[in-house]
């Protein structure tokens, strides 16, 4: 037994050393270099800064006429907007898709589930958006993000509906509840746990999305945080301190989210992945 104990202690120590080396050092590297002056940062060394340059953050913020603030505003509108639409349409659809099993429902189900595997068709999507006059608009972008996350959202809602007893609706129906009331007043509040999982997972995906805004939301006024990061990469390729400061500013929201919802995020991702 003593040997066993020593072995786990050794495991703990080695695990922490390798874990920190492999997973924490890259972030530490970014952190220290974000606080150096330009010459120091360009050496790309893992060492504490000689002078702590907190001004770097100020410079990144004010760069390009405070573009990063516009970007944060846009990213937040995009994320929140998509989430609201997703939750409303996804919960309604997941509810009916789980409760019924006739032909039209099966067709919709198959259709939606192809979206879990197949990537979007980029240019035809732009073509559709142009036809509707919503290309390069925030509304159009929200619709595209919603369409892309609908399959995953519906899948999670459907999975959770399994655990809600059908007798609730029967009782409500007999008591004379309309079907809209039934859903809004009885079912939707019961979906709260899965709704919060969906909020967190989709918020991370949409906030971190680079590819779709690159295609569907071009233009300087529409820039999202991931796109400013990408633009910075070209402009500040010779000032790593500013580049890393930018990365840091953009990663902070995720870090805060992670500190508060660590367990929720991990469990949600497992639930989502396993059901897929």
């Amino acid at each position: 037994m003593k040997k066993q104990k020593r072995l786990t202690l050794l495991g703990d120590i080695l695990g922490c050393i390798f874990g920190i080396l492999i997973f924490a050092v890259p972030f530490l590297f970014m952190l220290v270099n974000a606080l150096k002056d330009r010459r120091g940062a360009n050496l790309l060394e893992l060492s504490f800064p000689e002078t702590w340059m907190w001004e770097n953050f100020k410079e990144v913020f004010s760069a390009n006429n405070y573009q990063i603030l516009t970007a944060f505003k846009n990213s937040i509108i995009l994320t929140v907007g998509s989430l609201i639409v997703l939750i409303i349409v996804g919960s309604m659809a997941g509810y009916v898709l789980q409760r019924r099993s006739d032909r039209p429902v099966k067709i919709v189900d198959t259709l939606v589930m192809t979206g879990l595997m197949i990537p979007p068709a980029i240019l035809p999507t732009i073509w559709v958006m142009q036809g509707l006059h919503i290309y390069k608009t925030m509304f159009g972008m929200i619709m595209v993000e919603t369409a892309l996350q609908i399959p995953f959202t519906i899948m999670l809602y459907k999975g959770f509906m399994n655990t809600i007893p059908v007798e609730l609706e029967e009782a409500g129906y007999i008591d004379g509840c309309t079907r809209e009331h039934l859903f809004v007043k009885i079912i939707f509040p019961l979906l709260k746990p899965v709704t919060s999982t969906i909020i967190i997972l989709n918020a991370v995906t949409i906030f971190n999305d680079f590819t779709n805004p690159l295609y569907f939301l071009p233009g300087n006024d529409n820039v999202t945080v991931q796109l400013t990061l990408y633009n910075f990469m070209g402009r500040y390729s010779s000032s790593y301190n500013l580049l890393f400061a930018d990365v840091l500013i953009i990663t902070i929201p995720m870090l805060i989210l992670f500190l508060f919802f660590n367990k929720k995020i991990v469990d949600g991702m497992v639930a989502g992945a396993v059901k897929g």
Binding site: L46, V96, V128, V274
Partner: protein, 286 residues
Amino acid sequence: MNKKKIYSLWFLVPAVVIFVVFFIIPMVTSLFFSLTVWDLKSFTFCGLDNYKTFFSERSLSISVRNTLIYAVLTSGLKVIIAFFIALFLTSKIKTKDFLRSLVFFPNLVSAVAVGIIFKALMHPSKGLFNTVLAAIGISGPNWLGDTNLALFSVVAVDVWKGVSISTVIFIAGITSIDSSYYEAASIDGATRWQTIRNIVMPLVRSSTNTIITLSLIGGLRCFDLIWAMTKGGPGFATDVLASVVYKQYAAGFFGLSTAGNVIMFAVIAIIAFPLQKFLNSREVYN
């Protein structure tokens, strides 16, 4: 009780409309537009020319090979590495919560940010990787500049970023194994390795299948990390289908770009759907 009355199909309409307009219609029309030369307004039909161009030009067709290598390597490595990390994190160690968070965090950082950090770490002359290698007397390679190595460097970063999802899925699988299996094995005098090989591995097969399918599809679609790190370069060494779609779009060859997109659908459909069937047929139920 009348099911049709309570569960009205109207509830499906908003989701279906959004999904059909912004996903299904583009997907279906892409089959047609890939056969044309077009500029989003007018088009001329050109038959299979786009596909012929795609497969006859090495700079384009190489992307199919790269995509396959990328997807197979990332999903294979994620399965193997995640399995051992998960075994380690389900053992009796005390710091597992801390380590789990540590492994998980990269997953929340955007691919572009990860790309920027690793591009700096992999800098050929002053990057941290090569500085460390030089300290022990090895002259490090040009991670992202060497045409034979660049793809594998990006694969490594993808695995670093994404291994955590696979790990947590394995952890869920391993902890759901009934402890009576382990007891029976220890009574029969099984070694640690025999237990892993004959009990854990077969019983987490459904987790393994999920991970393989998920990461394979993710790998086949990957764009942002590759674009942030190499932009498909050097040359075409790290060009994948998704980056070819973007490059042709940026160059104004919309028909060719759409053809690339359709080839991507085809590759995913050919690999992912049968694979999922095959894997599901091999599952062992707990």
